[in-house]
Symmetry: none
Subunit: 399 residues, 2 copies
């Protein structure tokens, strides 16, 4: 049974900063330690020395999280209680408002060969101008009886699809098989009430193939993550916080918006993120700073790149400390070991720096020092109540 | 909230071996360390050095597990969600099929003195030939209106009792008080719907006492663990695995069967277990190897014996590694410290060896090295998803 924190929330003149190094965690093998262990991180090490460290699991032991559940955990929301489909995440990232009953899915423009098999799931990562032309054609030409279809170009091959109309149901299985040399899957209703929606998706698929038949690369749209908007309780309601997000990438901005954060104007880079933090420092009491470089390099299997991305974030810590925050949390939404070039289940290093966190013996930040640290091995969602407590924002429970 | 792994299960060409050293764990006291710490285990130490170690709790902190819940946890089934009565475990071990509505209990042939008090709960561990004669008499002579009663001899004083008929209910309290110099308990219905069954058990008890009145040692049958068959989801359904059990003792074979394992022909000893593993290696992707010696010596309070049983298993590790498994898990179903000569609640040492498990700093296998290891201190059931993840058998959760 999870404890509802709302009745315990108490106001305080304190500020919490959550620094998310996306995909931060790694693992040691016979060759070497993790990327974070290897990185030179004097500033993070100082936070670790003055604070407490540990390891966190975003969803559960052995479970590899997507970005949605990974971030919900960071914001203190149990990812098993609050699920977010890919379609909803994409819509949130694009600032496309979903109304009750709308169904959203993430689409990939992809390449089919003449036998109907997928040869490229990303249509050669179609350049934006070309992709947006394709999306414009789909927007004009796809017509389905009784359903309004909205196509919104995200970036490269990625497209958001929103279906609006009466009686739609998100219970449709992905048509994207997520492998090449397979055929796209036929849209299947996962339960009876989704049969009409599955039929709508079939019509959509057929029309898209006809419209794009002559395109050399993007001749099909693979769909996954059908979902409807679900209202999440806000961080204001749950914790009494006024939270702000300083994130560059659409998806993380979108997730932040779903939990009621004020999403600050899109910064261009880490320096701009720090500047935004400074500019809006007095207006909020919780800041979510998202650092993407650790994940994108991890996904590319680029170990030196990931080490450099960690070091870039480390260099930003002094500016952050200059703002005089009361609590700093540094961790990741999941691990992305360069050995795997993919998200993984490995526990993520975490540190909490605060006057009252309770120092442990760790003097460096990295997986091997986090084992046995004062924060222990925990679900990611438990970092939030500890941070709130360190910020003097949680009253006593019980008499 | 527990996560259902089935939707995440993905096929892989990998093999997992779970080595269960029954009753493995122990505890340090003012005299010395644990049995496992004392044992010379170069091969287990190598697995620990190349893998990750930790401590696991089968049921919960302070809870001493029976073999049923202990093993369910090892197979990734929450023992609090999936309960197995002793009767059902015995039936499974004896390959006695229980149909829906049948009620099974474990019986002990025991000795009552002339005042009706139990002087020996095991009737002097009645030798098998004598015990099976007693059981044959009961099978022939006990007659209860409207209920078919089946007695099956297990070994020594142990007997399975199965009641078959309309309207039976397993909600009957044990008649076995589990102490000597007490009288057997009167069968009591735990709820109204079990009143008829309690009455059947009373009649059974009365007839058994009459039939065995002249037996010098076995003159009563103490019953415990009334239960009905409950279908457990199979490991195939839950994880997409094709599992096989290589176990010698009936109960462990029975539990394995209950979770859908293919139970390989009964091997005579550890060498035969290894040979069976090798013979069937290509047919399965998950193997459960059960090693009993650590528990039986533990229960006897035989410290040198337990140390030797650990070392015997250690010597088998090279043959196991020769098969080239992808993941090896070594742990126990519970602790059996020789100081207590009984099952206990102490956390059980665990190791996972796999290319991607994430090495920690431990270079030996044993309680003191497992503390602070990379696996942390966890519920036993969490080992399964980690093993599946290391075997590449779990897809990402959420977008």
């Amino acid at each position: 049974m999870a404890l509802d924190l709302a009745p315990l929330a108490q106001p305080a003149e304190t500020r919490i900063v959550l620094v998310v190094m996306d995909g931060l965690g790694g693992y040691s093998d016979s060759q070497r330690g993790t990327e974070l262990e290897e990185a030179a991180t004097p500033n993070l090490d100082a936070l670790a020395a003055e604070g407490a460290v540990g390891l966190v699991e975003p969803v559960g032991p052995g479970i590899t999280p997507g970005s949605g559940p990974g971030h919900l955990g960071l914001f203190g929301y149990d990812p098993l209680e609050f699920e977010l489909g890919r379609g909803v995440l994409s819509a949130a990232g694009l600032e496309v408002k979903l109304n009750a009953g709308d169904v959203a899915a993430r689409g990939n423009l992809a390449t089919l060969d003449s036998s109907g098999r997928i040869t490229d799931r990303r249509a050669g990562r179609l350049p934006d101008p070309e992709a947006s032309e394709v999306v414009a054609r789909l927007s004009t030409e796809v017509k389905i009886d009784g359903v309004e279809v909205e196509f919104v170009h995200e970036a490269q091959h990625r497209v958001l699809v929103v279906l609006r109309g009466e009686g739609l149901d998100p219970g449709v299985a992905d048509t994207d098989p997520q492998v090449t040399l397979a055929e796209p899957r036929v849209p299947v209703a996962l339960h009876a009430s989704a049969e009409r929606t599955a039929d709508v998706v079939s019509q959509l698929d057929e029309q898209v193939r006809t419209i794009l038949a002559d395109h050399p690369r993007a001749n099909v749209l693979l769909l996954r993550g059908f979902d409807s908007h679900r209202a999440l309780p806000s961080m204001q309601e749950r914790y009494g916080l006024s939270p702000a997000a300083v994130a560059i990438y659409p998806m993380y901005r979108g997730i932040a918006r779903l939990v009621g954060m004020d999403v600050l104007p899109r910064p261009a880079d880490l320096d701009a993120q720090l500047a935004a933090l400074k500019e809006h420092w007095d207006r909020f009491d919780y800041f979510f700073l998202h650092h993407k470089g650790t994940d994108s390099t991890g996904e590319d299997g680029d170990r030196p790149g990931k080490v450099a991305a960690v070091e870039a974030l480390d260099a930003a810590i002094p500016s952050l400390r200059d703002l005089d925050p009361d609590v700093i949390v540094v961790t990741g939404d999941h691990s992305t070991p360069t050995q795997m070039a993919a998200h993984s289940w490995h526990p993520v290093p975490a540190l909490i720096w605060a006057e009252r966190v309770g120092r442990d013996e760790a003097t460096r930040f990295g997986e091997r020092w986090c084992r046995g640290g004062g924060l222990g091995l925990r679900p990611t969602k438990d970092l939030m109540p500890i941070a709130l407590a360190c910020a003097g924002r949680l009253a006593k429970y019980g008499a």
